[in-house]
Amino acid sequence: MNIGESVNLYRAYYCLDCGVCTGSCPVSRVLPTFSPRLVVEKAMLELGDELLGDRDLWSCLTCGRCYQRCPTNINFPEFMRNLREEAAKRGLSPTLTHHGMLQSVMEFQAAGVRQKKTDWAREAGKIADTGEVFYFVGCMPYFSVIFRDIGVDSLSIGRSVIKILNAAGITPVVSDEEACCGHDMLWNGNPETFKKLAAKNIELIRSSGAKKVVFSCPEGYYTFKHHYPLYFGELGFEAVHFYDYIEKMIGEGALKLSDGARAYTYHDPCRLGRMAKIYESPRAILHSLAGDRFREMERNRENSVCCGTTGWANCSSCSKQIQAERLREAKATGAKTLVTACPKCQIHLSCALSSMEDMDLEIKDLTTLISESMR
């Protein structure tokens, strides 16, 4: 899709040039050269070459803060994604983090490399090859190895999900053949690899006989919920986020949580909050866990800010500044623990925290917290 077609598709011509997007953008506050408003303006002035060649094209976090507030509903993240596809066609790409290791893993998976990544799940509890409920683990088995050095054990989330599902009498399907959901490839301007990965996953889940796919990762959930049907139509199974699932279990008394006496605050992930509109179920869980020791940061729900970087690309001093500010905001609530709900938020914020010596704060994933609080 060329730039003109993107302008038409997202009705970018409705732009009022009001500046709400740029004023809301966490990147623009740190990096004055980046401005969503100017991106739209340039697109409409047909300054395509300048726009696509601009390195700032990859600075956007696609966090959706601008879209949430845009008075003319211009879906800037999706608009940006289309521009990136155009730029990628010209051979341009973002600056990949971790030397592109994670993108390589994604390409391997798209090419169909055999994986062996369910041992941890068998150790954690009961899993099956076929069944009603499929647990889509996502990339955590890889994260767990890669980010060991900053003390983040992403797989504790996966183990916790299995433990909690088992406790509720559910034996989920967990598969070695599961591929990356394709989220990062899609947002990095590579829809071809995304489509390959997605097709593999859809086929795998259909053949497992599952009618419900449970996600603990917001990116996987949102990609399945929003982008898979966009590219593949009706999926034949339902995507459910784990929090919605367990909020119900807590409500029905199937899951009992004990009080840990700590004060918590909660960071909304962009994909879970603004994009999937899941704001309340994690809060309901935290309330049942901590009562009024759960404290909101000033910027919460729709106003929440990104964890600083996305798609394993363009992690910069700008990211660090956004992260440090967010951590200080968490600290200001008086909470001792910042609860995250996305493995990437946990990694990114933990990375920033590790270089902030005087910051007395613990970062914990909500799912892990739930499993530790089970009675």
Binding site: L16, D17, C18, V20, G23, S24, R29, L38, R301
Partner: protein, 419 residues
């Protein structure tokens, strides 16, 4: 039509106001947008017509709370108070109807990024109007809502402190001991129940006194608002809420900023807008005069977000689109130019009257017949038809009355009112 009971005989009431003066029951002042209080017997606003008082039944001690009172009835020399009055259904046969049901102010609390309702010193233009009014709850001084709340807290805490210290003083006199002695006795291990309770109360008194002193210090350091931000297009020209322009807000923001500056020359106002729509004779000149003489700065940029700092000051985040720069600025108070929306009853009324509404929910009219609704004989004027300012509403009102007269003139009509 239901004519609601006002519990005051309209034919007898002279509007003197001695009832409200003597009424012992305070109630929330709705005309002053909930800032400040009025009495349970009240007149909605000073210039209201007819100039007749009304009892706010749910707030009234006698009508609402079932207690004995009747102070107003005793005070009223005209004997106008009638606690037995009931709502009446009135049937009117009319040859023409003019719908002049006005508008509601958009509720900005649904916009998460502006923090209205959460950040105390973010107010709507209508609330600001009351704060600025000489007959309003602050007599026209720009006291900030955060300080008004603090004032209330000080009053309440003060009351508690006086009550508790009187109780403790009584104990001290009776027992011939000081509270300090009791506290040290308890600390030393005395477990006598009344003593423990006494010590507990004495300690909480000390805590409350310290809190009160802190609040008083804060209050003493507070000044009236000097630095104001006006935010345009709140809930209008916004696809999420209302697509239309509310048309009058640009001018009322300039007006409010001008009056604030006339009241206190130190007041500086920033008006944030996409374009300041000063359309009308003399409006553009008025806007310019505001910039030249009333310390008003016009900033091109729609406000993205409002946060709050430790001193309860709102912090406004925006992109100055002329400078292409994202900024944050601390203000004493932020005024939201909230949109004009159809009044809550418009849809129901339109259904009853059999008239159509436009896509925005206002009463539909034809551009060439701006006062005629879709049903002959029914006319509309003012903000029931769409957002408009006072002069336009007044002009429409006269025209609509003329249209209605034209419809019935020469016809034999009877105006019957049955009780």
């Amino acid at each position: 039509m239901r004519k609601k009971a006002r519990y005051v005989n309209e034919d007898l009431c002279t509007g003197c106001g001695s009832c409200a003066e003597k009424c012992p029951t305070p109630a929330v002042d709705t005309f002053n947008t909930g800032i400040g209080q009025r009495k349970a017997i009240y007149k909605y606003f000073a210039q209201g017509i007819p100039s007749v008082f009304t009892i706010d039944a749910p707030s009234c001690r006698q009508l609402g709370q079932g207690k004995k009172c009747g102070v107003c009835a005793k005070t009223c020399q005209a004997k106008a108070i009638d606690f037995e009055q009931k709502d009446r259904m009135v049937e009117i046969e009319a040859g023409a109807i003019v719908m002049a049901t006005g508008y509601d102010v958009f509720d900005p609390s649904v916009i998460p990024e502006y923090g209205y309702g959460r950040i105390k010193n973010v107010v709507t233009a209508l609330e600001f109007e009351r704060l600025l009014s000489a007959s309003g709850p602050t007599a026209g001084h720009l006291d900030r809502p955060s300080e008004l709340t603090l004032e209330k807290e000080i009053e309440e805490t003060g009351k508690e402190v006086r009550k508790l210290s009187a109780r403790i003083k009584q104990l001290e006199e009776k027992q011939g001991k000081t509270s300090d002695e009791v506290i040290s006795q308890v600390k030393a291990g005395a477990s006598d129940e009344p003593l423990v309770e006494w010590a507990k109360q004495a300690e909480s008194l000390a805590e409350m006194q310290a809190a009160l002193a802190a609040m008083n210090r804060k209050m003493a350091a507070a000044t009236t608002a000097k630095k104001l931000a006006f935010i345009q297009c709140v809930g209008s020209r916004d696809f999420r809420f209302n697509r239309y322009c509310s048309s009058y807000c640009c001018m009322h923001s300039v007006k409010e900023a001008m009056i604030a500056n006339e009241h206190d020359r130190e007041v500086h106002s920033s008006i944030f807008c996409m374009d300041l729509r000063a359309v009308g004779r003399g409006f553009e000149e008025y806007k310019l005069r505001g910039g030249q003489q009333a310390n008003i700065e016009y900033i091109r940029g729609r406000v993205a977000e409002i946060t709050e700092d430790e001193a309860k000051n709102p912090v406004v985040w925006f992109e100055s689109t002329t400078e292409r720069h994202v900024k944050s600025e601390v203000f004493d108070m932020v005024v939201l130019a909230a949109a004009c929306v159809p009044s809550a009853g418009t849809a129901r009324l339109a259904q009853l009257a059999g008239v159509e509404l436009d896509t925005n929910g206002f009463v539909k009219t034809d551009p060439l017949m701006p006062l005629a609704t879709t049903r002959p004989g029914i006319f509309v004027c003012g903000c029931a038809q769409g957002p408009m300012d006072i002069p336009e509403s007044v002009a429409q009102a006269s025209s609509a009355a003329a249209c209605a007269a034209e419809a019935v003139i020469g016809a034999q009509i009877t105006l019957k009112a049955t009780a």
